[in-house]
Amino acid sequence: MLTKLALAGVKNRRRDYLVLLAGLTMSAAIFYMFANLATNQAFIKANAVVKSASVVFGFGAVLLALITVVYIMYANSFLLSMRQHDYGLFMMLGAKRKRVGELVFLETLILGTVATAVGIGLGILASKFLVGFLLDQLGLHLSHLTSFYLPAIGFTAVLYIGLFILASLFNLTRLMRTTVQQLLHADQQANQPKVRPVRQFIAGVVGILLVAAGYWAMASIESLQLTAIPLALVTITIGTYLIFHATVLAVIRGLRRTGWAHRHLNGFLLGQLNFRVHDYTRMLTIVSLLFAMALGAITVGSGYHRQMPMTADSLGSYTVAVHDVNAHQRALIKQLHVAHQATYTQKVVGKTTYYNATELQAQPFELAKPIQSTGGRAKFYTQSLKTFKKDGATRIDFMVLNPRKLGDFTTPKILSARAFRQLKGQTYRVTTVRIKHMQDDLKVLAQLDRSEQKRFPAADGGALTVGTYQSYQLMNGIFGGLEFIGYFLGIAFLAMLASCLMFKILSGAPGDLRRYAMLNKVGVRRGLMRGNLAKEIGILFAIPGIMGIVDVLFGLQMFKPLMAAPMSPYLGIGTTFLIFIGLYVIYYLITLGLYLNLVMPSETRQD
């Protein structure tokens, strides 16, 4: 009988359950997608780009799991807030506590299992289409990327079902400890936060100091090394909490005394915020950090990718090297904006490549200065033949000019003109070309590179060939991968943080339902009520958003050493920020739509 009652209760609140189920399903789907990428060994092994980023993946998985815990906690409290009145009623009608407890446990678990199952299914579909689409957009081709991967399914299922069992137990103990009266009237209690001005002032100052310390730690990552990250995480978390705790309430209280608060529903808005923000402080802190991480991941990932070409010119001393230039290649070279070009005769005996000293004297081989000494600009110099024999000839740029590319080879030897002439071996003529700006000639370079690769396939060992164009390609792949991970993590974080916020806000709906019904009776226009809700939820979204943006702006300092001179972590962040904020706004609108649906009193008249 009780089971029937419980089912009827669920049926009556179909819409609320749908929201909850949809959110949980989405979270499981995202987690599956990530787990699929992070745990798929065949995929990781097959892609050099991903291998180098597996640390990032591991870090991301841990973070994602943490968020999931928080997320399910909030979803669960939303569930409990919906159901506690019913449970109280059952108990009042004489149902045994134990029996109701069983119901709560089962209900939470069933909901969780359904969400997990559907979520994994959705995740498989999304992996198939969405991940492919994202990779396409970034111009990346990753092999062995499957959408269906059993270990990932197991991983997701174990984590989610485990968490739901915990949540069920939590609900059970909560219920067992609460009296029937409290359950029945849970959302009528209003606790007014107490204000202790001195304490709040101290909290505010300490908060600012802590956040400042965190920002400083991130900016001085070079001297602090890896300790900077945990230090910043701890100080910024506590600092943000204290700042929210101290300032938001004080600002609201200040505003309540002004004339502005006496207009329309402003007073009500402030009252609502006053009594919510306190309860939300912890939540807003977590969300602001997640916001920062998500935005940071996307900004850094795409920043690297976008700015890569800036350093491309300084990666080595020539852009491409072509052996025995043919007519087609000559035509292509003519199309390039050449800054420096040289041709050398090579003789290959065994694994050793020989050069003619006279040629090198007449046309010294260019060497690139390390970027650190030039302030990021590409600068080149030559050495006297004597120095070159000892130094330049042993540099990788010169060594890989041999026709075997990065394959099996030994240090090249430079012979006098006579000795060179007498040497018997296969002869090649290699032409090195350095162009002014790689970005101007990317298309022609690609063609040239392709034809050279075809004529002289790299030896078995390395897929690498030579020249800064090759390095550029390789780094493009790595940073493209980073960008992909950045976007993926960013979007996953965003989805989860916004849902956390959504559930927290939605769990306040039962209480607001009554308040807005009262406002409706008192004669508040519907437009005014809607506007008020939009403002209220908007502010709750904006606070962590603003804090998160500030965190990112300072946090990017951390990447300054990694993105040296011509690159900067701050370059072009405007677009990234805009896209991210756009997504965040969409989340806000969804939450608002759901909330309006839940809370707005029904129209009394059909217009």
Binding site: Q188, H262, K521, T604, R605
Partner: protein, 251 residues
């Protein structure tokens, strides 16, 4: 009647969707309330009292008939007009107070004025004045959770009259109060009615509350069954008369 503040003509309300068995809560109701009058509406549970009040306050739509409140035909209003009408012409007191617990007493009382866009100085004066009338001046800074039932209802009454509506409507306002608080509230309503000439319409099933009215309409099965007038009677005598009437009325 020209000075009527409420004029109900042939009011009918039927519940139930097409295809379901309809239930008629009100069957052709006719009555009016003169300006400055203190009228009670009595009836047993399910007699249609609350339905009637919902029609008068535009929270529900009649199936048929006219409802004129202070000259406005409320059955013809739409959307914002309805909200504005409730905000300006009517003051409400509910059984469960309906105070917003996130606002202080002062902010609760000021809400109807804030909706009108009243300047905050004017608002403060109006709040002080009404708070003095209802002797709640020292409660203004408190939140509803810190008030007793009787105090809450006095705050609610202050909110209902602060904007000087044409009529004050009460839906069992003493229902959740102890007898002392109930008497205090009813005395206050009487004072407001007498001194500010505000019309009061009280829906109740409690004969004690009803004995404060000047005229009582008894509803039975969706129609006005009978009417009692207090005239010059003492309240206690009127109370007895109501009890007798209820005794015969429900037979």
């Amino acid at each position: 009647m020209t000075n009527a503040v409420v004029d109900v003509h042939n009011l009918e309300k039927t519940y139930g969707k097409a295809g379901e068995r309809p239930y008629t809560a009100l069957k052709g109701l006719n009555f009016s309330v003169a300006a400055g009058e203190f009228v009670g509406i009595m009836g047993a549970s399910g007699s249609g009292k609350t339905t009637l009040l919902n029609m008068l306050s535009t929270l529900d739509t009649p199936t048929q008939g006219d409802v004129l409140v202070n000259g406005h035909d409320v059955t013809k209003m739409r959307g914002n007009q309805l909200a504005d009408f409730r905000a300006q012409e009517v003051g409400f007191i509910f059984q469960d107070f309906n105070l917003l617990e996130s606002l202080t007493a002062e902010e609760n009382i000021g809400l109807p004025l804030a909706l009108k866009g009243t300047a905050s100085k004017v608002m403060d004066q109006a709040i002080q004045k009404v708070a003095a009338t209802l002797s709640i001046t020292d409660l203004l800074k408190k939140y509803p959770a810190q008030l007793s039932g009787g105090q809450k209802q006095r705050v609610a009454a202050a909110r209902a009259i602060v904007h000087e509506p044409a009529i004050l409507m009460g839906d069992e306002p003493t229902g959740a109060l102890d007898s002392t608080s109930a008497r205090e509230l009813l005395d206050l309503l009487t004072t407001i009615n007498r001194e500010q000439h505000m019309s009061v319409l009280l829906v109740t099933h409690d004969p004690f509350s009803a004995s404060f009215c000047q005229r009582i309409l008894f509803i039975k099965d969706g129609q006005i069954g009978s009417e009692l007038k207090r005239g010059d009677q003492d309240r206690k005598d009127f109370y007895q008369q109501i009890l007798t009437e209820l005794g015969t009325f429900s037979e």
